[in-house]
């Protein structure tokens, strides 16, 4: 079974490299993770369970590159920690994560004709909509079962059913994507059971597909929600074996509409049809309309999801995702975000259920991670990289040379979703920027191993890596590291301003710039775009700091 698993970029090493350290990896050394572990992030609780859970399939997928030396925190000037932070801090200040159902809502939005539906109280849905809308500047409807006090006591089943009926009336959706919230998970609503009842009671109405996923926020972040929803879509819809159609199944991870368009072009240029799941590119970046359509155009067609078994291969992006242990995660099965036992990612579901070859690659950000995706595509299609992209690659390498002096040795702090951070660090390393701190709000993301893999042999010291981080912790740590720039979403702006260094915006959310959802990160073109922005941020800083006012730099 593991034979047709294609490993990440050929960098696989012994899987025991994690060597008894907790999932937080690097940060343990500087004590940064002690509190996290105590907090139940799972690191101290089940290091070996993790290893067991991985199973043969995942073990082959991982690229646990041996951690080089102990992670260095000594990059910065020591003794500069003005933020009095106690080691046993339990509260979160300025979270570097969002809640689990948000990710699920976004993933469901990437399916054609879908209505994302939040089973819980009204407030959560409204907050999430606003948050999403501010980034994409597009309508984003999220229906809610709007539980009140009564339902919180007696169970939310009736509201869930009524809610779906109302959504059917109003939207005539092809799919309703139901995610739970903290509220409905806490009261223990049996959503699967309610939906079975619903199908029995109203089966004669011509029901839409209903996919559901468990997403309590007290167990995970928006990335777990996203991944769980993608997995649920595949698990619950791709059930039948169909005639092979030879399309490439691409599970891109949480990337921008611009990224998704670029990836579609890339695969298409290889002469292959592609099914991208989920595909937010049109639903969350659509044209101006004359008539408001209740459901936006675009997204992955339902029929394509149902027929995924006929794909030539599946490519799943995300190094951290690839390390998800099998089975319901966390300490309790009932609230595990995957919701059901079995393979932990959508790609693995397709691999194990239908024997599809699975290519697990990183988010294709930067030269090498894009090379890995391209290698996978070459293997699947049997064709070489199309000329257009070959040229893009060549131009990027040329730009690396032209631009390297501006940024060589600059020190970066990178934060956000684990897989995005890994990709960004990989790119930064290629252009000569030293990442001194890589942080994510997620726990159990195996971030240190992946950061080690993408920086191996290219950095003077392994960056400090923090999982389960909030922005205050990132700031505490970063202050001792004298960073020159920040790379990540808008929420780090407060610190960039405080330290008077540039913030290069990437990922989600971008609430303080125009066109954040059109930013390109992936592929050779994305690498180029990111490099341009990073180099220019550094130049701009030099220019505005200079008393001379050069216009020739």
């Amino acid at each position: 079974m593991t034979l047709d698993l294609i490993e990440l970029d050929g960098t696989c090493a012994g899987s025991d490299a994690v060597s008894g350290s907790c999932a937080c990896g690097g940060s343990c050394a500087d004590g940064g993770c002690a509190d996290d572990c105590a907090d139940g992030c799972g690191c101290s609780e089940a290091p070996e369970a993790d290893a067991d859970d991985c199973g043969p399939a995942s073990a082959a997928l991982l690229t646990p590159v041996a951690l080089k030396a102990a992670p260095s925190t000594g990059g910065g000037k020591p003794g500069k920690t003005p933020r009095p932070k106690r080691p046993d801090f339990v509260s979160t200040t300025n979270a570097c994560k969002l809640c689990t159902p948000l990710g699920a809502m976004l993933a469901f939005r990437g399916v054609e004709g879908a209505v994302p539906f939040l089973h819980g109280s009204q407030g959560c849905a409204t907050y999430m909509r606003r948050y999403v809308i501010s980034h994409y500047r597009e309508p984003m409807d999220i229906a809610s079962s709007s539980l009140g006090e009564k339902q919180a006591v007696y169970g939310g089943g009736p509201n869930l059913k009524k809610g779906i009926l109302n959504v059917m009336k109003k939207y005539d959706p092809a799919l309703v994507g139901v995610a739970t919230t903290c509220l409905t998970e806490t009261i223990g609503d049996d959503v699967g059971g309610y939906l079975r009842e619903f199908r029995n009671e109203f089966g004669d109405l011509g029901l839409p597909e209903i996919v559901h996923v468990h997403t309590p926020s007290y167990n995970g972040t928006h990335m777990e929600g996203w991944n769980a929803a993608v997995r649920a879509l595949v698990d619950q819809l791709a059930k039948e074996r169909v005639e092979p159609h030879g399309k490439v199944a691409l599970l891109p991870g949480f990337v921008s509409p611009a990224d998704l368009r670029h990836l579609r072009d890339l695969v298409t240029d290889f002469g292959s049809d592609v099914v991208i799941l989920p595909d937010l590119s049109d639903p969350l970046d659509g044209p101006a309309l004359e008539d408001y359509t209740p459901l936006p155009e675009g997204g992955t067609p339902l029929a394509d999801i149902r027929a995924l078994s006929g794909a030539a291969a599946v490519i799943e992006c995300g190094r951290s995702l690839a390390m998800t242990p099998t089975g319901p995660s966390g300490s309790s099965g009932s609230t595990g975000s995957s919701g059901s036992a079995g393979p932990a990612t959508a790609g693995r579901v397709l691999h194990e259920r239908f024997g599809l070859p699975l290519h697990a690659v990183g988010l294709p950000i930067g030269l090498r991670e894009t090379d890995a995706l391209v290698a996978a595509l070459e293997a699947v299609t049997g064709k070489p990289l199309p000329r257009r992209h070959e040229l893009e690659r060549g131009r990027f390498v040329d730009a690396l040379v032209d631009g390297h002096k501006y940024v060589s040795g600059k020190r970066a702090v990178v934060y956000g979703e684990a897989d995005l951070v890994i990709g960004l660090v990989s790119l930064l390393t290629e252009i000569g920027v030293h990442t001194v701190l890589a942080a994510t709000g997620t726990r159990g993301a195996h971030l240190a191993e992946s950061i080690a893999a993408v920086t191996e042999g290219m950095l003077p010291a392994m960056p400090t890596v923090i999982e389960g981080a909030d922005f205050e912790e990132i700031a505490d740590t970063a202050e001792g590291l004298s960073p020159d720039l920040l790379v990540g979403n808008s929420k780090g702006y407060r610190y960039a301003r405080q330290w008077n260094i540039p913030l290069v915006r990437a990922g989600f959310p971008i609430h303080d710039r125009f066109g954040g959802h059109r930013l390109l990160h992936v592929g050779y073109a994305g690498a180029q775009a990111l490099m341009d922005r990073i180099v220019n941020a550094v130049i701009e800083k030099t220019q505005s700091d200079s008393p001379v006012g050069y216009c020739y730099l």
Binding site: T92, Q122, I133, D141, E290, Y292
Partner: protein
């Protein structure tokens, strides 16, 4: 000003209201068509995409601008993350309110209870930030797992020597309105806990202004020019110590229909402080409000009426010529209003009249029967009045009524923009001051900037119209 009692049923009323969900019909009304009977202020309908927020949201909106208090959200991370620094409530001093604190409950806290974590969080955060008080917000799951917020807060209060106040804002226990009440109850625990020695007999508290883009400073400026002391800003640019002694003020000025009225009522009951309902949006409302304040204090300081008249005259003399040009451009254009509280809608309708525009749609998230009835009397016949609307309904009416500019919050913006309609942000995320006479000019300029932009001629709804021969009639 028109009062809309004209009995004529407009043609537009032969409407497509039919596609509204049956149960929603009672939440839409057309001015001038029979008696208004809005089934408002009830729980949102399951499955409808409501713009409505939760109890927690209401409390958070009201309390958050208190800048030297610690605002700790007890719950899972989302509730805190989505409310981190999203509003432009400015502070002239400390900015503790701009940090987002959460107990970030994890699974084991949900199973075993979150009280210990809450106590530890308060302990460390109070030590680190040295706030003047702490507000602890309850969220949905805290309501379920049964943490005794009151007990933890009492203990921490004793230990730290500052007021630590629970806010009973479990999200599912209603909508924003209940959140306002919870916030007022929380603040009321502070009121009356500090001496009022230095308070002048000519003094007020400003309630229900959140100092978005510095608005409360504009209003304070007017009041100070009238010779009035402002004791407490509640809550924009607010301070704990001011709230503690605000019972010493002679009058409460309450803006906004819902958010702080409860506090004014409590203060009336316990301290006998009278209150005036005011609005700082638009010319008449701003002027009327100042005059009402002057009248209230006339017996104490007879000169105040004259001073106020001078102030208004001065401001208007500066404002009116600037508005004239704007009005020329905007005359006859159509506006839609969808705001949080219906009270604000009154001011907006009048403000639009000043720039020559007609309001064809007005709605709110949290209006009451009474407010809608009142609203109808200031609307033109045929104006659609809607309670707790969803995007489909909003877009339906925006099209039907051919709206030029939409005033609303961040959630309405994409709908307006998708349909090629101008937009003016009038909710809490706005970064431009819209209060006072200056605010009226800013508002006019905002609307003008949007409506007069050339981009509308390129959007489908206009470009197709212009291209098709039949389009000219629209």
């Amino acid at each position: 000003m028109t009062t809309a009692t004209a009995p004529n049923v407009t043609a537009t009323a032969a409407c497509r209201d039919a596609d509204l969900l049956d149960e929603r019909k009672k939440q839409v009304h057309r001015a001038g068509q029979g008696p208004i009977d809005m089934a408002c202020n009830r729980e949102s309908l399951a499955g409808a995409v409501s713009q409505r927020a939760c109890v927690f949201c209401g409390s958070r909106v009201v309390l958050y601008p208190i800048a030297d208090a610690l605002h700790l959200v007890h719950g899972p991370i989302g509730c805190a993350a989505y409310t981190w620094d999203i509003r432009g409530a400015l502070s002239s001093g400390p900015e503790l309110h701009r940090l987002s604190f959460s107990t970030d409950l994890q699974e084991k806290d949900v199973i075993f209870g979150g009280e210990k974590k809450l106590a530890a969080a308060l302990d460390e955060l109070i030590d680190l930030h040295k706030p003047k008080a702490a507000f602890v917000y309850s969220t949905c799951i805290v309501g379920l797992i049964g943490d005794d917020l009151g007990a933890v807060c009492r203990k921490m209060s004793e230990k730290k020597g500052i007021p630590v106040i629970p806010v009973q804002s479990e999200g599912f226990k209603g909508n924003k309105r209940e959140g306002y009440l919870a916030a007022c109850k929380a603040m009321f625990q502070l009121v009356g806990t500090a001496p009022t020695d230095s308070v002048s007999p000519l003094s007020v508290n400003i309630l229900g202004d959140f100092n978005l883009a510095g608005e409360i400073w504009i209003v304070r400026g007017y009041l100070e020019r009238m010779g009035i002391q402002v004791v407490a800003n509640i809550t924009g640019d607010g301070r704990v110590d001011d709230i503690r002694r605000c019972h010493g003020a002679a009058l409460n000025l309450v803006q906004c229909s819902g958010s702080t009225m409860d506090l004014a009522r409590m203060m009336k009951e316990k301290y006998g402080t009278p209150h005036l309902r005011v609005s700082y949006l638009g010319i008449e409302d701003m002027a009327d409000s100042l005059y009402a304040v002057a009248e209230h204090f006339e017996s104490v300081d007879p000169g105040i009426v004259e001073r106020t008249r001078d102030l208004v005259r001065e401001e208007l003399a500066a404002l009116m010529p600037r508005l004239r040009d704007i009005r020329r451009d905007l005359s006859g254009k159509r506006a839609a209003i969808y705001v949080g509280g219906s009270f604000k809608a009154f001011s907006l309708i009048k403000a639009f009249r000043h720039i020559g525009m007609n309001v064809v749609l007005v709605g709110s998230q949290t209006g009451t029967q009474e407010e809608y009835r009142e609203l109808e009397t200031v609307c033109d016949p045929g104006t659609v009045i809607i309670d707790d609307a969803n995007p489909l309904e909003l877009s339906h009416y925006v099209r039907e009524l051919d709206v030029d500019v939409f005033v609303g919050g961040v959630k309405e913006r994409p709908i307006a923009h998708k349909l090629g309609v101008g937009f003016c942000d009038h909710n809490h995320e706005r970064k431009i001051a819209l209060a006072g006479f200056e605010g009226m000019y800013n508002f006019a300029r905002e609307v003008h900037a949007s409506v007069m932009s050339p981009v509308w001629r390129f959007v489908p709804r206009r470009s197709r119209r212009a291209a098709s021969p039949a389009g000219a009639d629209a």
